[in-house]
């Protein structure tokens, strides 16, 4: 009996031996139930133990296994062989990131960008520390010293908080490739998420990064980031809501120099 097989072309790069990446081909047994991650595991166990890739949860929550599958950024654990069989599957590391080894990319820049938007709640006390001239009305706390939040207040930002930092959106974005300084979809959506939080008073402190030319203004609304996002974060919407807000603040700054100043 001949076993059904499927071919995988994987972009390989070994920093100790190769000067540039090149494709390696593997033919493996076809199993209808296998995800691409299962296939990579099979290759690593049976064919080439040097194959290097990231993974953890195998259920689309950890965001480790982002890779480019036939040109589209996808989670390896959420991509199934049956959706491609009998065609060859071409697997590459995420675009717009330096390749560390095989399918592993260097995410340092991404982490720095996430940090740059101050992705934590800045309460009234901290906001006034940052800018003593500003009067900030504190969000009232409940009797046990935490904040209450209404479902509608949560609903305002919930979508933007679903991000799993898989970096698929960075791989999808051509502006990211053209301008590596671009803060990028996930980080800007994360900043927006905190700005929309009723407990937060830090939007002024995020403005510099968000409204920078490497912030939302590097985006041209290609929109592919939102298409590939596995969690429906719609980072393109987050970014472009900030452009609209920024343009409004800019116009206001002429009409009411003091009020519009942010």
């Amino acid at each position: 009996m001949t076993e059904q097989t499927i071919k995988l072309e994987i972009l390989r790069y070994n920093p100790e031996a190769d000067n540039e990446p090149s494709f390696g081909t593997f033919e493996i047994p076809y199993n209808e139930a296998w995800s691409l991650l299962d296939a990579l595991e099979y290759i690593k166990d049976e064919l080439d133990s040097s194959l290097t890739y990231r993974w953890s949860c195998r259920m689309a929550v950890c965001g480790s296994c982002g890779m480019v599958v036939n040109g589209r950024p996808q989670l390896g654990c959420e991509t199934f062989l049956r959706d491609h069989y009998p065609n060859t599957i071409k697997v590459e590391p995420l675009a717009n990131f330096p390749i560390e080894k095989d399918l592993i990319v260097d995410a340092t820049g991404f982490i720095e960008k996430l940090e740059s938007v101050k992705p934590y709640i800045i309460d009234a006390v901290d906001a006034m520390k940052a800018n003593p001239a500003k009067k900030v009305k504190e969000t009232p706390k409940n009797e046990i010293g935490t904040y209450n939040q209404k479902p509608a207040e949560l609903g305002l930002f919930k979508q933007f908080s679903m991000c799993i930092n898989c970096m698929l959106c960075y791989s999808a974005c051509p502006q990211m490739g053209l301008n590596p300084m671009f803060t990028g979809p996930a980080a800007l959506a994360l900043g927006h998420r905190y700005n929309l939080d009723s407990r937060d008073h830090g939007s002024d402190e995020r403005t510099e990064v968000i409204q920078d030319k490497n912030g939302v203004w590097s985006c041209t609304f290609v929109g592919y980031c939102s298409e590939v996002c596995p969690k429906n974060v719609d980072p393109a919407a987050a970014i472009n809501q900030n452009k609209a807000q920024g343009a409004q603040d800019w116009a206001l700054s002429f009409l009411m120099p003091r009020k519009g100043e942010k």
């Binding site: 041209t220 929109g223 472009n240 809501q241």
Partner: protein, 130 residues
Amino acid sequence: MSRRPYVRPMPANWFMSKPAYRFYMVREASCVFNLVYGLNLFAGLWQLTNGAEAWAGWLALQAHPLMIVFALATLAMTLLHTVTFVEMAPRVMPQQIRKMIPDNTVKAAMFGGIAVVTAAIIGFTAMGAM
């Protein structure tokens, strides 16, 4: 084990590499058609101020098959521009408003508005031609 990260260059023709990018380029190019079409209209106005003969010349040029093809292409591109614009518009609205009004309502209102304005323009033009 030493690190030697490899940075892949961005190909100059990146916009041809994915259907999503190609569609984006067509969407962005649609405004070029509108620009050229607008310039042509201004040229018409200019010729109108230059007397009957100049105006007739401009009108004759508009009847040229290539100009008609261009006008049709502009129409198609304008429709694409309109549809993509309306599709994207609700997502750009402030999140607070977006949570109050469903995206489809906004889109319907925008398409409705565009339909009314278009009908009005066509109506006035038809009345003027009578």
